[in-house]
Symmetry: C2
Subunit: 195 residues, 2 copies
Amino acid sequence: MSETQRIAPRTGVAFELPKGATLTVFDPEGSQVADLLAYAAADLREVISNGRTFDYEETLALTTGNRLWSNRSNPMLTIVADTVGRHDFLLTPCSEATFRHFYPDRPVHRGCFGNLAEALSPWGLAEDDIPTAFNLFMNVPIDGATGRIAVLPPISRPGDYIALKAEMDCVIGLTACSAYASNGGSFKPIAYRIA
Amino acid sequence: MSETQRIAPRTGVAFELPKGATLTVFDPEGSQVADLLAYAAADLREVISNGRTFDYEETLALTTGNRLWSNRSNPMLTIVADTVGRHDFLLTPCSEATFRHFYPDRPVHRGCFGNLAEALSPWGLAEDDIPTAFNLFMNVPIDGATGRIAVLPPISRPGDYIALKAEMDCVIGLTACSAYASNGGSFKPIAYRIA
């Protein structure tokens, strides 16, 4: 098992996760979001897809036992443990454009989108290769009657975690989220471990 | 205004839609789905994004007045008329893999995914370039409490339509859906007109 790694507030990392390995992502201080991307190491044009995942899992509420599917209809990651049970796969990583849109009076940040693009650049990936991310611990309630969504602070508490087992060799992008709203207004680290 | 074009059952088309033009898509017989994709004609790596759209529109229920956004945070299409008010932007186009998954005892079809890939091939686009589509008339109710989704027959009636105005020069992919469940089990045409 690897040592626990820390992702500093408002930054991101990328790393390879071999088939069979389990990635555990911790929310050390609670109420923080981590955006996760997965690409197939064998062909980086195969990537996680919220649409395929919703199709095959028949739910928007993904937790232990659910799988994250690729655009080529292959399972990439299986959620094998989850102490929170509330994540989001609807919304895209925060970016300079989303900062300007949602927080016009506050400092702009390149956000998870820019952090992911930089972290993934050694693999030749760039902004246009970033699909909708799986947003760990992100709390986006849905009003089923009206379709309205909201972004609320995560319900995760210090030490909560989610564990994902790789179903193929993956390249993973992972952030400690930079947006004001998604974590209740404070920027905190994320931690992860590979076993 | 162009003549009304017909998309035969279980087929798809692609065409250019210039900025300012309005595409009206009709459900001539009722209860049929049409998968729609939009790419920026100036750079085909800019494409509609369900995640960016949900972010900026703050709803999953897209209808008149809502815009469809690209992965680069630009508005691509504005819904300017809609006699149905029930569409889906969660699920990916049906494909050989989804036919095998959902209908293991019935004939496999390449589905909207294969139809879109062929129709878009003159622009150099292929299957890996197809994101989650905007599925016109598709009826996917969401249980907000549990996150469960279902695919029900569309509520569209014969002659219902949705109209989308192009906010940039677009390449559009459009199908008459091939799946068994999404249209209540019968395969029907779709019609469209450009004005």
